[in-house]
């Protein structure tokens, strides 16, 4: 590019100002990156939800249980291919800050329903053979330094007492965004030891034969259990995850609001900086035009400056956000999927460039419209 040195020379004319503008973009895009990560963390359950899975909970609320006996009835409903269940345990490992989800699971079918969690067969068999065995995600194992054979004591909060488990298997996620911070153990073990709710499970998950049939099958399930002491509410896994996110408040709106304010501020700051930069160079721009630089070329040079600043600052910001996420979830388990996907990074840089272009438009148009004669007359 033949105008490269002109563009760079102008950018480095006031290095502090350029550095601060690049820094403004970097900070804004860092924030954008973190917001994207938080949004992704909240939406992770929705994004990874299986299209052929339905979740059945008690119609009253998620914390109300459902009878174990429903499993066989579910399997008899047309369109249901497989069924499994789990129960929320809610224990504490060492300290309450060490949060991670613990599920008492149906050891016979749970793995079949969630094939995205990859477990070596020999480890799975070892889990099945040990009533006190547990399966932990690789993220969780790394977080606490657990390895196969370790004995993990967990203090129950819903179900009192200290429960001890043996790590028999470590699963990995088949996809980047799969949650690898879960802790599974035998539902039988829980049901045998707990004093209350014996013969009850937390929720069911069924696989349906045809995902296009989800609405009909969900209605059939709820109809089947209507007017029973434990009526059900059935949703697709995606809808279930979305309703879960909704309970936390309108995260989407919050993130969008914060992001919009940040980008609007960025637009004003950059626009003002570029306007000052153009005002300072009125004579030079006039000279360029006098020697034959066209209006369009002058416009392009000014816009080029803002785009370079925006792209460098934006790239730096999302790069830093990515580095930040590589350190893992800073919340101690509340956001297990703390990941900045490449698509979000690209969107961030594109947004930064768009803001740069927008911020540069007014000063660039002013430079383009500059009359040489008037500009040279100014002192």
């Amino acid at each position: 590019m033949r105008y490269r040195h002109l563009l760079l020379a102008n950018l480095f004319r006031r290095p502090t100002r350029t550095g601060l503008t690049v820094g403004t973009f970097a900070v804004a895009l860092f924030l954008f990156g973190i917001l994207a990560v938080v949004r992704g963390a909240f939406h992770q359950g929705i994004d990874v939800a299986g299209t052929d899975r339905l979740v059945i909970i008690n119609k009253v609320s998620l914390i109300q249980p459902l009878p174990f006996a429903y499993r066989d009835r579910l399997l008899r409903i047309p369109g249901v291919a497989q069924a499994t269940f789990a129960t929320w345990f809610g224990g504490v490992y060492q300290d309450e800050r060490n949060f991670f989800p613990q599920f008492a699971v149906d050891k016979e079918h749970y793995r079949d329903l969630f094939p995205e969690f990859l477990i070596p067969d020999d480890q799975w068999q070892a889990f099945l053979a040990d009533r006190e065995g547990c399966v932990v995600g690789v993220g969780l194992a790394q977080r606490f330094g657990w390895k196969l054979g370790d004995r993990i004591p967990i203090r129950g909060t819903i179900y009192p007492g200290v429960w001890e488990f043996n790590v028999r298997a470590i699963y990995r996620g088949g996809r980047t965004q799969d949650d690898t911070t879960q802790f599974w153990f035998h539902w039988d073990y829980l049901d045998e030891r707990r004093p209350l709710d014996k013969g009850f499970v937390g929720w069911y998950t069924v696989r349906i034969t045809n995902p296009d049939d989800a609405v009909r099958v969900a209605r059939a399930i709820d109809d089947d259990f209507a007017n029973s002491p434990f009526e059900t509410k059935t949703d697709t896994e995606k809808a279930f995850a979305a309703s879960f996110v909704k309970q936390m408040g309108n995260i989407e709106f919050l993130i969008l609001s914060v992001g919009s304010v940040v980008f609007f501020t960025l637009l004003l700051v950059t626009g003002n900086t570029m306007a000052i930069a153009v005002r300072e160079r009125v004579r030079e721009l006039a000279v360029l035009k006098a020697v034959g630089f066209s209006d369009g070329l002058v416009l392009g040079l000014i816009l080029g400056e803002t785009v370079v600043v925006a792209a460098v600052g934006g790239g730096l910001g999302v790069g830093l956000a990515k580095l930040f996420t590589l350190r893992g979830d800073p919340t101690g388990g509340l956001l297990p999927f703390f990941y900045l996907p490449p698509q979000a990074m690209v969107v961030g840089v594109v947004l930064a460039v768009a803001v740069g272009l927008l911020a540069g438009v007014l000063p660039a148009v002013a430079a383009m419209r500059l009359r040489v004669v008037d500009a040279l007359r100014r002192v």
């Binding site: 033949r2 105008y3 040195h5 002109l6 020379a9 102008n10 480095f12 004319r13 004579r283 030079e284 006039a286 000279v287 360029l288 035009k289 006098a290 020697v291 034959g292 630089f293 066209s294 209006d295 040489v372 004669v373 040279l376």
Partner: protein, 241 residues
């Protein structure tokens, strides 16, 4: 040969101005800066325009350089009638035909001498190597071959003006327009710049039109024209040739 009588004389002039008017409006008042001005300048002429402040010297220069448009009349340069060109065409025409030398040099402070001189060549299709050769050549002509990498702040006023002249020369324009080229220089530097302009006319056949307040500068030109109340009057000729 420079004429202001408007006679066609075979029509071979490099610059031909006929009935040039320039008026400005200030509120309801109409100010006539140039009135029915005629001018013929041949290739290789060195013309100085003198006159009191506000007499229209710079306005005339701006019109000849295609930086401004007249209210009436015509300007023809090397056969191109520029008064009716669109802004885009005029810009391209300026790049090809006009070299500007300003009183305040107007160099870009963040570019080196060579990069400043190279600016007009960025608009051409020359390769980087070819552009470099052209820049080296003109900087050698103006005596600054050893200051190519210096920035304007590292140069004296006279040297800055030499860079300005090199920038005006580098694209080999049809003529140079110099607006008070020595107005910001001490006597010694001014003389050096005037020597350089005279040398460009004498040795390189350039056509130079210069606005000046300085009678000593004007003496160096072949022809001195006085502008008074928007009208050109032929002055004394230096008789250089």
């Amino acid at each position: 040969m420079v004429r202001v009588d408007g006679d066609d004389n075979g029509g071979a002039s490099l610059i031909r101005v006929r009935g040039l008017d320039k008026t400005y409006r200030r509120g309801s008042e109409v100010i006539h800066v140039l009135q029915g001005l005629n001018l013929d300048v041949d290739a290789g002429d060195f013309v100085a325009f003198m006159g009191p402040s506000g007499s229209g010297k710079t306005t005339l220069l701006n019109l000849l350089g295609g930086l401004d448009v007249p209210s009436a009349g015509s300007i023809t340069v090397a056969g191109d009638e520029i008064t009716h060109m669109s802004a885009r065409k005029l810009t391209a025409w300026r790049a090809r035909h006009v070299g500007f030398v300003f009183q305040m040099y107007n160099l870009i402070p963040v570019l080196s001498a060579a990069q400043n001189v190279e600016l007009p060549l960025l608009l051409t299709n020359l390769s980087p190597a070819s552009r470099r050769r052209h820049v080296e050549m003109v900087l050698t002509i103006v005596g600054l071959a050893d200051r190519m990498r210096h920035y304007p702040r590292q140069l004296s006023g006279g040297q800055e003006q030499r860079v300005g002249i090199a920038r005006a020369l580098v694209s080999d324009p049809t003529f140079l327009l110099c607006d008070e080229p020595t107005g910001d220089l001490d006597r010694k530097s001014a003389d050096e710049i005037l020597d350089l302009l005279a040398q460009l006319v004498r040795e390189h056949g350039k056509t130079v039109l210069m606005v000046t307040h300085d009678p000593r500068a004007a003496e160096r030109a072949d022809t001195v024209l006085h502008l008074d109340k928007g009208v050109l009057v032929e002055g004394a000729k230096a008789g250089r040739r």
